[in-house]
Symmetry: C2
Subunit: 283 residues, 2 copies
Amino acid sequence: MKDITTWIDEYQKGSRFGLKGKVLLKKNSKFQEILIIESDYYGKALMLDRCWMTSMRDEKYYHECLVHPALSSIKEKSRILIIGGGDGGTARECLKYSQVEKIDLVEIDEEVIKASKKFLQEIGGTAWIDKRLTIHIDDGVKWVEKAKNNFYDCIFIDCSDPSEFSNLLFTDTFYKECKRILTQKGILATQSESPESFKNIHIHILKSLKKVFKLSETMYSFVPIYPSGIWSWTFASKGELNLSTPCCNEVTTIEKGCDIWNLNFQNAAFKMMPNKIVKELNS
Amino acid sequence: MKDITTWIDEYQKGSRFGLKGKVLLKKNSKFQEILIIESDYYGKALMLDRCWMTSMRDEKYYHECLVHPALSSIKEKSRILIIGGGDGGTARECLKYSQVEKIDLVEIDEEVIKASKKFLQEIGGTAWIDKRLTIHIDDGVKWVEKAKNNFYDCIFIDCSDPSEFSNLLFTDTFYKECKRILTQKGILATQSESPESFKNIHIHILKSLKKVFKLSETMYSFVPIYPSGIWSWTFASKGELNLSTPCCNEVTTIEKGCDIWNLNFQNAAFKMMPNKIVKELNS
């Protein structure tokens, strides 16, 4: 099977996005189908239940935009929680900050981590051997329920689209629990879907976070392999949200090393809400 | 043929983006293959030489970003030139401005206009019967060569990717001729390709315009059906370029009617250059 080049597509509402490549792994875990291919142009790529999750070529569009608006702006960031993020990309970006002391990465599907470590090593990179990272194979919702009040400085929800086993990650109840375990100046950062391909979920996330948290802001940018190519990330806090102000000198160095994100880009991305979404939210 | 639902894909560097639908027209003109489909989610869509040009669902992402940064900012805009733009969407957006007195739309391929008028009526809309619009079936490069000095207030280059018959639209020579026929405060607005899927052409356009014109600025936004979903538009002038300042009260009304564009969105889009492109341009 490995030597056959084929087209693998994600299908969404009468459109499809496909990569040509060789299948390196096709496996059914307890939760989902895991597919890894070696593609001609996007490099190695991961698909879960036939939805593209990440690829070597474009993963930075996603991971840099999830992590840096949050961690570049908060001063205190010793304890981090990542829910999902089994490919390791979010942890890798977090570990660029020397103040990060401990990351709990809570991934429900052990097989995703095994497959990522084996086939997508470059995405996690040295994160996999960094002593600050602890991997927990657990349900993110349950983990959050069990966590102490005011414990994490930053929570990243790095999950797939709503499905049978991830639905609870998109509820008010879950967001309230996240709020409870966040420190006063901490930030919740979540991918918040595409305003074009998943408009209803997108608007639901924005409204829920606005209801539950004191402050929330949404940025829009690009992820070429995701449906429509338009993606969003939302940041929320119960205390402060100074996303445009870098917290420390280290940010300048981190900025230089990034492929997509920089502070100018970020400040702009927070204003890239398509007018039809502005109108819908104001109606 | 018309009743069969099928997948139609654009192929780019080992990736493909496809729409499912019925083929309404498949025709070879003197210049290219013209394909129009009725797709399930994106509605009617136009493909030229197997590249997606526009669709009912997402055409505003493209047309609003090409037209409004230019026309919302210049005071004098009586004479407009559109090169390409055979689907009518650019003309439709231009005609929202009451000060526009005359548009010359110069499309090389008459068959594109015929097909758009027949199958994609909603994109051109009332532009097709607006007396301010004159269609010329001609080569845009030759049209520009023949035009008078300081004649047009705005030139829109609304063309397909470089190909055998459109290559000359991406040269310094052509840009110099455009500059010659533009008024002193006029603006050249061109689609400038994807920084991700067509990086070399993208950077070539930016550098050429910077060399030829006194001022130029590039904005980045989304076009879901184009390769990578990231697209860019560049605006250039030999005199003034005050893209963030609306010229007149009419802009507020036009803004309200837009699906994607508004002034905040625009100002942000001019700062959405991915960091790797920033670094490449500065190197």
